[in-house]
Symmetry: C2
Subunit: 430 residues, 2 copies
């Protein structure tokens, strides 16, 4: 049995988890892939730091060149995160004939095309299962296992922190602000929660999912992103009353050769499989010709779930090394399909307005909507007693641009006291 | 771009679906795997039969030898089903250097070991994604994508017909017999429904799942199987009141190097991810070290979902052919792990007894249970007014053998009028 030498770049939470797995279960990996996996080197910014794992016999250093130029190392595991130096390290590792495993969604969402091209040119593997939804094998599903279907939709709950917040808001009748602090205290959110709560983390994952699902480049900049910070306890209660759950979803669809890709909170019907995905769990719901619908569900984050996804990639790559077929999944995904501008995306809406409570007001509002091609699925009206009324609408499908125009007009009307909620409604057909 | 020639054995529902996919979307497959996939031959018992697909340019025949000896054919797709002649064809195809895709659970559950060994000896691929849970990529997950985890449990709803029946029983408050006829009329069940309703189909799938999850041979004969025919509307109502759904589950677990594998109806807590898998959908829930828990959900049967799973295997195999790495996933799975006898399996139970309604009766019954090491989680008692009382118990974990002994004793007691229900309770820890 041969040895396969690997290096881990970055010994943060995930990097240490991977080191533990490699070192603790050597016989298992050897049996699974036919070679001994040896952790030879680590790259650490602070090699003096105390770790949760004993790295006996591992060369720890701050010297990337020593790794890049070590001909024995055939797999480089990048768990640094962020754009640089991760990007340079990965490109240099591939150029040096090494295979790469990365969990780096920031990098893939922006420079994916460059990395895929480098892997293809080098004839080496670039695997990235851990970049989206942690232990949920969604990347493999889209790159390999669902290759027998032409996919039309990938819709996911791919940010565990926001799903945790929304789940608690629903269960406890709380507003966003009430749960935020708790989520931070419990470690579900970074000190600066912006990337999570504004939907930016999910947007990175959406770019990766859309690219490999539809085989055409989609980058972070292509993704419309809106977060959950404006969602109130009232919104949650209204949604529940109407039979919906509010979820932060990444939606990727291909229609007639064009791609729509967006991240925002949405009302999903209670019976939609994503509606019962709670707490910090992730799930991705997929539609495709032939397969109809499939959902994958599991832990989207955390040291060991993420390390397990990384380790699965390592095992697959070692199998490829042993059969001398590295690069067998390489595809470059040039941008062949247009991204639909957000204004042209069609969706349904849930709207809550506070209006002057006078005869003819509803007629005025619905006339404006009608002028913009908006038709209504349902209306709930409630007098507030102070001369105003609260009206909630669910619309049929409407162009985002038409809705924006209608809302701009309604906002300026005398009878409009407040546009309280504008949320999209998705998943009706699932 | 090279041509890869394939043959389809058996043009039933699934075989025709695969033919449609190959013929209708040639450019897509070529792009995905780097070769043109050409359907060259079919093997049909009745080649004069009218098909739903036009097989222009395809050689249709009843002559297996012509396929086995055609050196151009490198992938054989077996959709005949059953043991023979499928077994012989697959063995001969592998021996002739061809790769094989099969959806044949009957064959794999009994002769898997022989087929895996033949594939390994030939250095060719044997793929079987469609054999369990149709379009749900569970085989790939267990053979490849979850290779970074040491799995401890695979629990699945892998028979769509029975899940359809149980879903309707629950929704409409009906008994098994009330729904059976409808399920047959709607095509959810064969004319002879035995394999589905007695859990035999699910047992075949359990054998396959357990083998590849725990890397040790498990065959159909190893699997304890009990069906759904004894479940009543009352059972469903009781379960619901207690917060459970009744599902036919295939349970595969590894504990301390031993495997338990069984198929039976079970009460699952409402919040267990499998509890909300309804209608004819399939799902497989997996636990493993590192990954925690993962669930895969989707269509378990039907022409196009199954064909899509087969097609995914074909695409993967063609990728392997192009990189000359056929056989990279081959493992023989010798029987290294003992199968735990059903009597030694530990589970919780839901019991319903009709007892004489007299003082001291409960004490007698619970004393017998206590003597056999059975402790109770909850008890519900109801007087029936005819001098008898109905008592429902949920137990803590107990050895199946101890429960059997206790039940045998209780059955013979004067105070026992009827043992009405004995169902297992699973998934409490999920």
């Amino acid at each position: 049995m041969e040895n396969v030498y690997v290096a881990i770049l970055g010994l943060g939470t995930v990097g240490q988890g991977v080191a533990m797995m490699i070192l603790n279960d050597r016989e298992i990996w050897a049996k699974r892939c036919g070679s001994r996996i040896i952790l030879k080197r680590t790259l650490e910014r602070r090699p003096e730091r105390r770790l949760d794992v004993e790295l006996d016999g591992v060369v720890r250093s701050q010297d990337w060149r020593a790794i890049a130029e070590d001909p024995e190392i055939s797999v480089v595991i990048e768990t640094i995160g962020g754009i640089e130096p991760a990007r340079t390290y990965i490109l240099e590792a591939l150029a040096a004939g090494k295979n790469v495993v990365t969990a780096n969604k920031e990098l893939l969402a922006v420079h994916g095309q460059e990395l895929f091209a480098a892997a293809k040119a080098a004839g080496r593997d670039l695997y990235f299962e851990a970049s989206v939804a942690g232990a949920v094998p969604i990347i493999s599903a889209l790159r390999q296992n669902l290759s027998g279907s032409i996919l039309t939709e990938v819709m996911g709950i791919v940010n565990g922190s926001t799903n945790y917040i929304l789940t608690r808001m629903k269960r406890e009748g709380l507003g966003y602000g009430d749960v935020l602090g708790d989520a931070q205290k419990l470690g579900y959110l970074e000190a600066d929660p912006t990337a999570d709560v504004e939907g930016l983390d999910a947007a990175r994952k959406a770019a990766i999912l859309a690219t490999i699902a539809f085989k055409s480049q989609v980058t972070y900049d292509d993704v419309y992103a809106q977060g959950i910070t404006a969602i109130t306890a009232e919104d949650m209660a209204f949604a529940e009353k109407l039979g919906y759950a509010v979820k932060l979803v990444a939606i990727c669809r291909e229609q007639e050769g064009k791609i729509e890709v967006r991240v925002h909170p949405a009302l999903l019907p209670e019976k939609h499989p994503l509606s019962s995905v709670n707490d910090s769990f992730n799930a991705v719901f997929i539609r495709g010709l032939g397969l109809d619908k499939v959902m994958l569900y599991g832990r989207g984050a955390g040291r060991m779930p993420t390390a397990s996804a990384v380790m699965g990639d390592v095992v697959e790559i070692v199998r490829n090394i042993n059969f001398n077929c590295q690069g067998r999944l390489n595809q470059v995904y040039p941008r062949e399909k247009e991204i639909i501008p957000m204004a042209d995306v069609k969706t349904r809406f849930f709207l809550r307005f506070i209006l002057t409570d006078k005869p003819g007001v509803m007629a005025k509002i619905t006339k404006v909507m009608g002028n913009h091609g908006i038709s209504l699925d349902s209306v709930l009206q409630k007098e507030l007693g102070d001369g105003s009324a609260e009206v909630a609408f669910v619309t049929h499908l409407v162009r985002q641009g038409d809705m924006d125009a209608a809302l701009a007009e309604i906002r300026e009307m005398d009878v409009t006291r407040e546009i309280r909620t504008v949320l999209r409604v998705e998943g009706a057909e699932a």
